[in-house]
C-alpha cells in the first residue's frame, strides 16, 4: 500500500496548491451549486464522522472519523468539476465528477455524476483483509443563498459497480451493478472566523452498503441508515 499512500499525499498537495492559485471572485463554496467563474477553484479541508448502524457495529466502536478534502472548480458553460478524498488509513475513498449548474435569483440548482474508487485494508488483530470497489453517484443539488449563508441540499443515488475483497489468501470478486441506496446531504456554507469560511453539514445515507463499514463484512440485503457529520474549512 505504500505507493498508494504516496499518491494520496501528492494528490492532497496538488489540491492545496490549486486553492492558492485560484482566483476567488465570490465567497468560497463547495456544495452550493451556483455557476462559478471558469477555472475558479475552492478547496475545503475538514473532518467527517460516520455513525455506523448498530446492526452492523454492535458493541464495537461505531464512530468512524475521516479526513475530508474537497475541491470544486468552475468550467466554461456553467459546468464544474468536483473532487473529494475521504482518508482514514484503513479506508480511503476518491471521488470525482462533473456537474452543470444554473442560478435563478437566490436559488441555484445542479445536476451531475460522480465516480469513486475506494479501498480499505486491515492487517492486525486477527485480520488480514482488504477490499476495494467502484461506486457511481448520480446527483442533484438545490441551493438557497441567504446572503452570508448558503444552504444546499444534495440528493444522490449510490450505485455499486464492482467490489473485490481479500481474506488471507482468499479472494472474492463480485460485480454488483446495482443501486445500493441513496443519500441526502444538507450543508451550510458560511463565514466562520475573520475572513475564513466553513461548511457544516450532515449526510444521511439509506443504503445496503457503505464503504466505510467494509470491514464489518455486512451480509444484510436491506437498507440501513448511515449518518455523517461534516465539517470543513474553506481555504
Amino acid at each position: 500500500m505504500q505507493p498508494m499512500l504516496r499518491h494520496m499525499f501528492l494528490l492532497t498537495a496538488l489540491l492545496l496548491n490549486a486553492s492558492f492559485l485560484a482566483a476567488q471572485e465570490a465567497a468560497p463554496a463547495i456544495y452550493y451549486p451556483a455557476p462559478r467563474a471558469a477555472w475558479s477553484t475552492d478547496v475545503s479541508i475538514g473532518l467527517r464522522v460516520l455513525t455506523v448502524p448498530r446492526a452492523i457495529a454492535e458493541e464495537e466502536i461505531n464512530k468512524a472519523p475521516a479526513v475530508d478534502v474537497q475541491i470544486a472548480m468552475g468550467l466554461p458553460w456553467q459546468f464544474a468539476v468536483d473532487g473529494r478524498m475521504v482518508l482514514q488509513y484503513v479506508t480511503n475513498h476518491f471521488r470525482a465528477g462533473l456537474r452543470w449548474t444554473y442560478r435563478f435569483g437566490p436559488l441555484s440548482a445542479g445536476i451531475g455524476d460522480d465516480a469513486a474508487f475506494w479501498f480499505g485494508f486491515f492487517d492486525f488483530e486477527g485480520f488480514d483483509n482488504s477490499m476495494s470497489g467502484w461506486i457511481n453517484y448520480p446527483n442533484l443539488s438545490l441551493g438557497w443563498d441567504f446572503g452570508d449563508v448558503r444552504l444546499t441540499a444534495r440528493g444522490e443515488a449510490i450505485y455499486l459497480m464492482s467490489q473485490r475483497s481479500l481474506a488471507g489468501e482468499n479472494e472474492v470478486s463480485s460485480t454488483k451493478n446495482r443501486i445500493a441506496g441513496g443519500a441526502l446531504t444538507l450543508v451550510l456554507e458560511q463565514p466562520f472566523w475573520h475572513d475564513t469560511h466553513a461548511l457544516l453539514g450532515v449526510r444521511l445515507a439509506w443504503t445496503k452498503f457503505h464503504y466505510q463499514s467494509w470491514f464489518a463484512f455486512s451480509t444484510f440485503d436491506r437498507r440501513l441508515l448511515f449518518s455523517e457529520l461534516l465539517f470543513g474549512l474553506l481555504l
Binding site: 486477527g126 488480514d128 488471507g168 482468499n170 444538507l186 463484512f217
Partner: protein, 412 residues
C-alpha cells in the same frame, strides 16, 4: 450559525434507530398436519438429498438441500440465505409438510406447504427406502406471511447429501444467530437454541457472563443495552446485578428471560439433538467455574446417551493463562482462539482462528495432524462460505447463517 439548530435536530432524529422483528408467518403446523402420523427416523433420513428445483426458483434457486434437522425437515438454498423450516407427517402413504420460509439477508418470509405423494416416492420413503434420481418429487406451494399470493413448488430428488470423512460442525453463532437478522427469538436465548437445528446447525456457540452473585448467564455484551434487551431501567454491567434481578427485570429483545448457563445446557441436552456447544467465556466468568459445569453436563449427556461435546472457549491470552493456572487443566475440553503456541500449551481440542485470516491450509493441516480440530469464526459472507468449504480444510464453521453453511457443505 443560525441554521446549525436545524442540522443538529436532524442528527438527533436520525440517532433513533431500531430493528423491526420479522414475525413468523401465520401458520400452525400442528393444525395443518392434524390427523397425520409422525415420520420414522428412517423415513426422515431417506428423504434427505440434493433436489433440483423445477418450480419455485425465485425462492429456492436451482438446487436445494433437503435435510432432516432434529424433528423438523429443512430446505436450504444459496438464494438470499434462504431456508424453510417444516413440520412433517404421514397419511395414506404420502408425506405432508407445513411450515415457513425465510430469506435471512432480508426480511421476506411466508408460509410453505408441500407433500410427497404415495406414487411420487412417498410410499418408498415411508419404508425407509432412498429413491433413485428423479424418484422423489415434492409438490406444493409457498406464499407470503399471510399465506396469500401462492406460487408452486416442485422439487425433484437428484443425489444424496455430501458426507465427509468426519462429521462437519455447522455451529450457529449466539445460539442461532444475531438479533440484527431478526430471527423469531432473541440471540442467546433458550427459545432460539431450540430453533437452531432448523436453521441447519448441529452445534451452537453461546456467550457466558457472570451475575453479581456468581451465576453464569448467557448474554453477549458486557453491558446491558437495547440491542439485546427491552427497556428495563437497569444500566451498566450484567455483572452488577444478581440473577434474581436479571430474571425479574430484564427481558431479551423478543421478551425472553436471560437464561442461566445451566438452563441453556439443559435445554440443549433435553430438547435438541445438537452435538456441540462452544462456551464463549467472557471476562467476568472464571474458567474453573465453567469447567465444573462442563463436567456436570458431560456426565448428564453420557447418562442420557447423548452425543454432546461441550468446549470452553478461550478468546484471549488472559483466559489461556487462567486455564493454565488450574491444576487439572488438561482434563478440560477447550477451544483456543489465539495462536498455535497457546493451542499446544493448553492442549486444546480445537483451534478456532478468525476467518479474516483466510483458509491457512498449511497451519490447519499441521494442527489436524496433532489430532485437533479446527473451526473458523464467524463466517457469514456467502461467497467466502462457499470458498472456505471448497478450498479450506476446516472441521467446522461458526456462522450467523448456518443454513448457508449447510447448503454449501451438503451440495458438494
Amino acid at each position: 450559525m443560525k441554521y446549525a439548530a436545524l442540522i443538529f435536530l436532524l442528527m438527533f432524529f436520525v440517532a433513533c434507530e431500531d430493528e423491526v422483528a420479522v414475525p413468523v408467518p401465520e401458520i400452525d403446523p400442528d393444525a395443518e398436519l392434524a390427523g397425520t402420523g409422525a415420520l420414522s427416523d428412517a423415513a426422515l433420513e431417506a428423504l434427505e438429498g440434493v433436489y433440483e428445483v423445477v418450480d419455485g426458483q425465485s425462492l429456492l434457486g436451482r438446487e436445494a438441500v433437503v435435510k432432516r434437522t432434529g424433528r423438523t425437515v429443512s430446505i436450504f438454498t444459496d438464494r438470499d440465505a434462504g431456508y424453510c423450516v417444516l413440520s412433517s407427517g404421514e397419511a395414506d402413504s404420502s408425506i405432508l409438510f407445513a411450515g415457513y420460509w425465510r430469506k435471512q439477508t432480508g426480511t421476506e418470509t411466508g408460509v410453505f406447504r408441500a407433500q410427497i405423494g404415495a406414487e411420487r416416492g412417498g410410499r418408498g420413503l415411508l419404508r425407509g427406502q432412498r429413491s433413485a434420481a428423479g424418484g422423489t418429487i415434492i409438490l406444493g406451494d409457498f406464499g407470503n406471511a399471510t399465506g396469500k399470493g401462492t406460487r408452486p413448488i416442485q422439487l425433484v430428488y437428484r443425489r444424496p447429501l455430501y458426507s465427509g470423512e468426519s462429521p462437519f460442525l455447522i455451529v450457529a453463532h449466539r445460539a442461532g444467530g444475531r438479533n440484527s437478522d431478526q430471527l423469531p427469538a432473541s440471540e442467546n436465548s433458550a427459545e432460539l437454541v431450540r430453533l437452531a437445528e432448523g436453521f441447519g446447525a448441529n452445534g451452537v456457540e453461546i456467550d457466558v457472563q457472570l451475575s453479581a452473585d456468581g451465576v453464569p448467564v448467557i448474554y453477549h455484551d458486557a453491558d446491558m443495552n437495547l440491542r439485546l434487551n427491552e427497556k428495563s431501567g437497569l444500566v451498566g454491567s450484567v455483572s452488577d446485578y444478581t440473577i434474581a434481578q436479571l430474571e425479574s427485570f430484564v427481558r431479551l429483545k423478543n421478551g425472553e428471560r436471560i437464561p442461566t448457563l445451566k438452563r441453556m445446557l439443559a435445554t440443549i441436552l433435553r430438547q435438541t439433538t445438537l452435538r456441540f456447544v462452544w462456551l464463549d467465556s467472557k471476562a467476568s466468568v472464571p474458567v474453573a467455574m465453567l469447567r465444573e459445569i462442563q463436567r456436570s453436563y458431560e456426565d448428564s449427556a453420557r447418562i442420557l446417551g447423548r452425543d454432546l461435546t461441550i468446549v470452553i472457549g478461550l478468546p484471549d491470552q488472559a483466559k489461556v493463562e487462567e486455564l493454565l493456572r488450574m491444576p487439572d487443566y488438561r482434563s478440560a475440553l477447550v477451544l483456543c482462539e489465539t495462536d498455535l503456541e497457546s493451542v499446544r500449551r493448553t492442549d486444546a481440542e480445537i483451534w478456532a482462528p478468525r476467518w479474516t485470516l483466510g483458509t491457512q491450509n498449511e497451519a490447519v493441516a499441521e494442527v489436524q495432524a496433532e489430532g485437533r480440530r479446527v473451526i473458523t469464526w464467524t463466517l457469514d459472507q456467502a461467497e467466502y462460505i462457499q470458498q472456505f468449504i471448497r478450498d479450506g480444510r476446516f472441521n467446522g464453521i461458526l456462522s450467523n447463517y448456518p443454513s448457508l453453511v449447510a447448503y454449501y457443505y451438503y451440495v458438494q
